[in-house]
Symmetry: C2
Subunit: 252 residues, 2 copies
């Protein structure tokens, strides 16, 4: 039987709080499940626990919404303090839609709903988690942490759920990456017909994030998934490279 | 150790020609690899071999390009007959970009590059494959075929590679589906914080397609991947449900 790719959810990750050592939590959960991490694995971690560990949590009581945020909040029955945070995290508003949905470009260049600002309840207080300041660096640090503890240096991907224009539903994509090439460029290589593949650059980091989400489930909270048996291309890829340059982007 | 999800590429699928019984080819390849298909599997099949089996192949010599297609072809050094086919397969042009790239809406409602028209070489003649007329029906027929031959009725997904606005690289998405719900609606269910998840509808069919692409590789041509161990929601889902309604679509 073929050697396939395995998607293994780690279930022992506790609720994460600011300052927690996420690498240690991941290594402990993997060990408890008998999963000895190796250099060949890809560890996919959901953004939210990274944001929490990094203290990217804002107590909503401390947020003073602008007049515009109040206006949008009142119109749609949304918390104006959340709107305010979304605006602060954005460099560009791309669309505003019914329900107070804001699609914007974040400082990282990602275009997503609500700039990744997620309402949360941390220690009984209404708060919001923000995206990590630099998700690629977060991934790199996580990878270094895992290496220090376990000796193994798997590739690491930070994932988040994004909507897409024209298609219903969200899918997980890569927000940060370390240790692997995020794009696989097959241009110039022959396809099955011997014809050159002109436009085949595959966003493997996004596909890895989506695959991991299948194993993670959404309500059973497994925020970390180990992908085993996928032969990734080792490299210093950064998820920032997934952001399309303005001059190539037909949708700016 | 956790029971994970497995992604198993089938490698015995031969070059497919119009009229071939794809279900039989898939069952034979699975059997040869010792993979006994079950109702619990998801079989992901790349669109191109489905199009070929269904005879959605056009000999470019038979295509008479319009004046517009000639103009676009001349401007960008592209075959005007391919441009002509792209226009014929489109209901709406969404963007035209450098290199003669056309992003359009297909009759199915999908927004993608070149309306899914793919240059190909079938039997030595320059030809193009078009998307299946009704990919959901193609998936359903494939599922019925597999059931007739093997007795098992796995879920079936037809996949294709789509680009995305704002992000580099392509990822595989679901073009057709049979036997499973393509969207998992978690709205109203509590998340880890006990907070209602307001906007969580997951496009699992797209995530399954992306996951399969990791196992398929691109140059090693494994056009069929079996996903094992993913507990899909059985149902009469159709990939057509992944197309966003015009009134909800902020990007029309």
């Amino acid at each position: 039987m073929t050697q396939g790719i395995e998607l293994l959810a780690l279930d022992g990750i506790p609720e994460v709080s600011p300052g927690d050592d996420l690498a240690a939590l991941i290594c402990a959960a993997a060990a408890a499940q008998g999963i000895g991490l190796t250099d060949d694995d890809v560890v996919v971690v959901t953004q939210k626990i990274v944001s929490k560990a990094e203290g990217r949590v804002v107590d909503l009581a401390t947020v003073d919404p602008s007049a515009f945020a109040r206006q949008v909040g009142e119109r749609w029955g949304k918390d104006p303090r959340q709107i305010e945070l979304v605006l602060r995290e954005s460099t560009d508003l791309v669309r505003m839609g019914p329900g107070g949905l804001i699609i914007s470009r974040t400082r990282h260049g990602f275009v997503c709903a609500n700039a990744g600002v997620d309402l949360s309840n941390v220690g009984g207080a209404d708060s919001a988690t923000l995206l990590p300041v630099d998700p690629d660096t977060s991934a790199l640090e996580l990878r270094d942490g895992v290496r220090r503890i376990s000796g193994a240096a798997p590739a690491v991907i930070l994932s988040d759920s994004f909507g897409r224009p024209w298609r219903n539903g969200i899918v997980d994509v890569a927000l940060g990456a370390a240790g692997l090439e995020v794009l696989i460029d097959l241009r110039g290589q022959p396809d099955a017909d011997g014809r050159e593949m002109h436009s085949t650059v595959i966003a493997v980091a996004d596909e890895l994030a989506s695959a991991a989400d299948l194993a993670a489930g959404k309500t059973s909270h497994c925020p970390v998934v180990v992908i085993r048996g996928y032969r990734y291309a080792p490299g210093a890829g950064r998820a920032a490279a997934l952001v399309m340059d303005a001059e190539r982007d037909l949708f700016r």
